[in-house]
Subunit: 114 residues, 2 copies
DNA sequence: GAAATACTGAAGTATCTGCTTGACAATCCC
DNA sequence: GGGATTGTCAAGCAGATACTTCAGTATTTC
């Protein structure tokens, strides 16, 4: 995997690792909403929400746009797509690894009984 | 989502958010291996690897078993499956949210032209 | 233009993370 | 038994993280 892509995956997992940020994504899945309204049900300040939004934007999980004094936030699919791609690529590796586990156990068995 | 499950997802994303831990998973995808051999290509001490392994075990991404003085590590599919499940569940939400974005934009358009 | 609204930025803080070192325990090999 | 190998535990530390407050800016509303 290219170094750059690795860093993106890094940020992506890091972003999704925080419960408040996942809560923000859940709220946004109900539709576009302003920062203030986003902050209301979350037990943190407006500033904190702004900081989370910046992180979510950097890994393309959220898109925001400011019109007048209101910043409207919505889900951005790009980050999510990237995550799915990572998983798809790794699932095959992991499945291979389970095959190798089979070989490993068979070998152990052979050594034990041989 | 149940509170307990949420905490599991929390640990899962947190675990995958660290590049060293993802490197460990990549090494393990080549097949089962001991802690010492796992630590060799990683630029950290044996102790650090042990700490990472504990985290990876807690979210069921890795299984380890100690026989004699050697702890053998391998991929455990459970955590990976849980991650795929989370994504599958959330993809539909996110797709709905993109539909709502369409509605949102249509509404805006209506307000602008009405 | 004044007051209210919706954010933004800087600075500070408590806690968490990843990592190290050094001492220790268990096991294997001779 | 003695020495090497393999891993574990406890403590400590530098840096990152999530969060706060407070002051400021831009925009809307009256």
């Amino acid at each position: 995997m290219p170094e750059l892509e690795k860093a993106e995956i890094d940020r992506l997992f890091h972003a999704l690792g925080d419960p408040t940020r996942r809560a923000i994504l859940d709220l946004l899945s109900r539709g576009p909403i302003s920062v203030t309204r986003l902050a209301e049900p979350l037990a943190v300040t407006l500033t904190a929400v702004g900081q989370h939004l910046q992180i979510l934007e950097e890994c393309e999980l959220v898109h925001t746009e400011k019109v007048g004094r209101v910043r409207t936030c919505r889900i951005e699919p790009a980050g999510f797509t990237r995550l799915e791609k990572w998983i798809k690529e790794h699932r095959s590796h992991w499945e291979l690894s389970l095959d190798r586990l089979g070989e490993f156990l068979a070998e152990e068995d052979e050594n034990a009984n041989g």
